[in-house]
C-alpha cells in the first residue's frame, strides 16, 4: 500500500514537472545512466541501435532542454501548454534491493497556438530505490499515436 502510494506520487510529480516546464528538475528524476525511450512501435524490445522517436540519456536530455530554453528556439515562441493525466498505476515487479518496475497509462493534451493535440499511451518505469525516493533507470513510452503521421512534431518529452 505504502509502496503503491509512493510510486504513484513519483509518477504524478514527474508529469507535473513536464506540465510546469521544470525541465532540469524533470531530468534530475533520472539516474545517472537513466534513459528516456519512445519506440516507433510497441514491438521494439530495446532502444539500443534502433530507430527511436526518443532515445535519450541525460546528455541528450540536456541538449533538448538547452534548446527549448534558447531565446532563438523559434518554435518555442508561441503559446504552448501541455496537460498530463497519469493513471492505472500497477507495480509489476519489486526486486529484493527495492528496485521497482511499474506500468501506467497517460493522456496528454497539448495546446500550441490555437491547435489542440492529444497523445496517449502507456509508461513503463524501471525505478531504482534511492535514499530519498526513486531514480529512473528506464522510462519507456509507448504512444498509441506512435505510428500515426505527426501533425507537427514533439518538442519535449511526453
Amino acid at each position: 500500500m505504502k509502496q503503491q502510494h509512493e510510486v504513484e506520487q513519483f509518477l504524478y510529480r514527474q508529469s507535473e514537472l513536464l506540465d510546469t516546464k521544470q525541465w532540469q528538475k524533470w531530468i534530475d528524476l533520472f539516474a545517472a545512466d537513466g534513459i528516456y525511450w519512445m519506440p516507433p512501435d510497441a514491438s521494439y524490445k530495446t532502444w539500443d541501435g534502433q530507430p527511436a522517436i526518443f532515445a535519450e540519456d541525460k546528455n541528450l536530455m540536456k541538449v533538448r532542454m538547452l534548446r527549448v530554453l534558447h531565446p532563438d528556439a523559434w518554435s518555442q515562441r508561441p503559446l504552448w501548454e501541455t496537460n498530463h493525466v497519469v493513471s492505472n498505476v500497477v507495480i509489476r515487479k519489486v526486486a529484493k534491493n527495492g528496485d521497482i518496475e511499474v506500468a501506467s497509462r497517460f493522456h496528454m493534451m497539448e495546446l500550441r497556438r490555437d491547435d489542440v493535440r492529444h497523445f496517449a499511451g502507456s509508461y513503463f518505469h524501471r525505478l531504482k530505490k534511492t535514499k530519498n525516493g526513486y531514480a529512473i533507470k528506464l522510462q519507456r513510452v509507448d504512444m498509441a499515436n506512435a505510428q500515426a503521421a505527426y501533425d507537427y512534431v514533439l518538442q519535449v518529452w511526453v
Binding site: M38, I53, V63, H70, A148, Y152
Partner: protein, 441 residues
C-alpha cells in the same frame, strides 16, 4: 484572379508570384503536370522482400500500391478496384498473400493487377460487355515503373524521359549511398517517420538546399549541442564527444558566412546538389575498421573516390531529398496546397560494420524523428511562410541573392566560388516548374 491563364507571368528569373504557393487551382495543375507525370519515388526494393509484400504510396493525388509479384517483379498499381472504385489496400503495408481481394464484393486480382476472379462471374456477366479478359476489369498499373539500385520509381505518364535520363546527374544520390556499402547495396531500416507540415510542398524542397537558413533557424539546437559537446569532450578519454553532437553543433558553429564556402550545382528538371562533406571521415577505430573493409572490397583508388564524394544533400525534383553520406532520404507527399507529408527513411549499408550504421542512425533519430531537435524550427518557419504568403502583404517571393553571378555551362548552373548561399537552387527549381507547367501531357 485567373491564375492558370497567367502562369507564364508568375515566374520571373529572380522572383515568383506568391500564388504559386497558395493557389488551390495551381496546386491541382502542378499535381497533374508535375507529380503525376514525372518519375516519383515509391520506395525501396527491400521494403517488399517477399511475394505479396506491399506498401501504399501517394503519387500526386493518386493512391498507389507497390507490390512484389511471384515473378519477383515490383509492380506499382492504382489502389482502386475496377468494380466500384473501392480502395484495395486500406493499410500502409502488409502481405496480401497470393492475390488482392477487394473488401467490398470480393473481386480478386493478381499481383500485377490482372483480374483473377469475380464471384459467380459466369452467371453474372454472360452476355454483358464484360468478360474475363476485359482490360477494364483489371487494376490499373502505373504507366511506367523503373528501379535504380533498388530504388523504385513510377511515372504515371506513358511518355517522357526514362528514369535515368530524368535523374541525370542527381542519380549520384543513389550511387553515393550504395557505393558506401562494401557490397554496393543498401537495405531499408524498416521504419518510416512521417511528419506533416502546414505549407506548400515547394517550401520544403527549397529549404532542403537553402544554405542560408541552417545557422539562423537551428541556432538554438546548435548552441545547446555545442555546450554539451564541450563538456563531454572534456570528460572523454579521446578528448572528443560522440560524432552525433558534432552533427548537431555544426548547425551553430558553421555560421552563416561559412555557408558561402559550400556550393550548389543545379541541373535540368530542378534537381540540385548541395556540396559540403558531412564530417564523416574522422580517424576513430570504427571509421578505420570500415575503411579497411571498403578498401578490401573496392581497392584503394576506388575507395578514395567513394568516400571522397563531396555531397551534403541531393534534391531530386519534385519530391525527394537525399542525404546520401548518411543513408537517409525524405520523400515529399503533397496533401493539399497548404499541407505536405514527408516520409523519412534510413538505410543500412550492407556489409558495413554496425558502428557505421549506428552513426547515421543517431542522425536519423536526432534530426529526422518526430521528436526532431532540428526540423521543429523548420516546420515552424514553413507554416509561418505559408501563412505570410497567403496574405496581401506582398505579391512576390524573392530569389535574387547572387542572381546574375552564377556559373552556367551546358544547362548546369553552379553557384560561383564563395557564393554558396546563392538562391540559384530556388531559381532553378522554379525554372523547371514553369517548364513542366507549360507542357500539356
Amino acid at each position: 484572379m485567373g491564375n492558370l491563364s497567367d502562369l507564364s507571368k508568375m515566374v520571373e528569373p529572380d522572383r515568383v508570384r506568391k500564388e504559386v504557393y497558395t493557389d488551390a487551382e495551381i496546386f491541382e495543375r502542378e499535381m497533374e503536370r508535375i507529380h503525376e507525370t514525372v518519375w516519383i519515388y515509391c520506395g525501396h526494393d527491400s521494403q517488399v522482400p517477399k511475394a505479396g509484400d506491399y506498401c501504399t504510396v501517394q503519387i500526386g493525388r493518386q493512391p498507389m500500391i507497390m507490390v512484389r509479384g511471384k515473378d519477383r517483379k515490383v509492380n506499382v498499381l492504382y489502389n482502386r478496384c475496377p468494380h466500384r472504385g473501392n480502395l484495395i489496400c486500406g493499410d500502409r503495408k502488409g502481405n496480401t498473400g497470393d492475390q488482392f481481394r477487394c473488401s467490398y464484393h470480393a473481386w480478386t486480382f493478381h499481383h500485377d493487377g490482372k483480374l483473377k476472379n469475380i464471384p459467380m462471374m459466369e452467371s453474372g456477366y454472360a452476355g454483358t460487355r464484360l468478360n474475363k479478359d476485359s482490360p477494364e476489369l483489371c487494376m490499373k498499373k502505373a504507366a511506367r515503373v523503373e528501379t535504380y539500385r533498388g530504388f523504385v520509381f513510377a511515372s504515371l505518364s506513358s511518355s517522357g524521359p526514362s528514369l535515368k535520363e530524368f535523374l541525370g546527374e542527381s542519380i549520384v544520390a543513389f550511387d553515393d549511398m550504395c557505393d558506401r556499402a562494401p557490397g554496393g547495396e543498401v537495405e531499408v531500416v524498416p521504419n518510416c517517420f512521417r511528419v506533416i507540415q502546414h505549407s506548400n510542398w515547394k517550401l520544403f524542397m527549397e529549404n532542403q538546399i537553402d544554405a542560408l537558413h541552417p545557422s539562423v533557424v537551428h541556432q538554438s539546437t546548435g548552441r545547446a549541442a555545442h555546450e554539451v559537446e564541450k563538456l563531454l569532450a572534456k570528460e572523454a578519454k579521446s578528448g572528443e564527444a560522440p560524432l552525433s553532437y558534432h552533427m548537431l553543433s555544426a548547425f551553430a558553429t558553421v555560421t552563416i558566412d561559412k555557408w558561402d564556402n559550400f556550393q550548389t550545382i543545379n541541373y535540368p528538371h530542378g534537381h540540385c546538389i548541395l556540396t559540403g562533406y558531412m564530417g564523416l571521415r574522422p580517424q576513430d577505430p570504427d571509421t578505420l575498421a570500415y575503411d579497411k573493409i571498403m578498401i578490401k572490397a573496392y581497392g584503394k583508388k576506388r575507395f578514395e573516390e567513394i568516400v571522397g564524394v563531396n555531397i551534403h544533400h541531393v534534391l531530386v525534383y519534385p519530391g525527394l531529398s537525399v542525404q546520401s553520406p548518411l543513408q537517409q532520404l525524405r520523400a515529399v507527399r503533397p496533401l493539399g496546397v497548404d499541407r505536405t507529408l514527408t516520409e523519412i527513411w534510413h538505410f543500412r549499408l550492407k556489409g558495413a560494420p554496425e558502428a557505421i550504421y549506428r552513426r547515421s542512425l543517431a542522425y536519423y533519430n536526432l534530426v529526422n524523428s518526430p521528436a526532431t531537435l532540428i526540423n521543429a524550427d523548420d516546420l515552424e518557419n514553413f507554416w509561418k511562410c505559408h501563412t505570410g504568403l497567403s496574405s496581401d502583404g506582398g505579391d512576390w517571393v524573392s530569389f535574387a541573392r547572387h542572381h546574375g553571378r552564377d556559373l552556367e555551362k551546358d544547362g548546369v548552373v553552379s553557384s560561383a566560388p564563395n557564393m554558396g548561399t546563392s538562391e540559384a537552387p530556388m531559381r532553378n527549381q522554379m525554372k523547371a516548374w514553369a517548364k513542366f507547367m507549360k507542357e500539356a501531357r
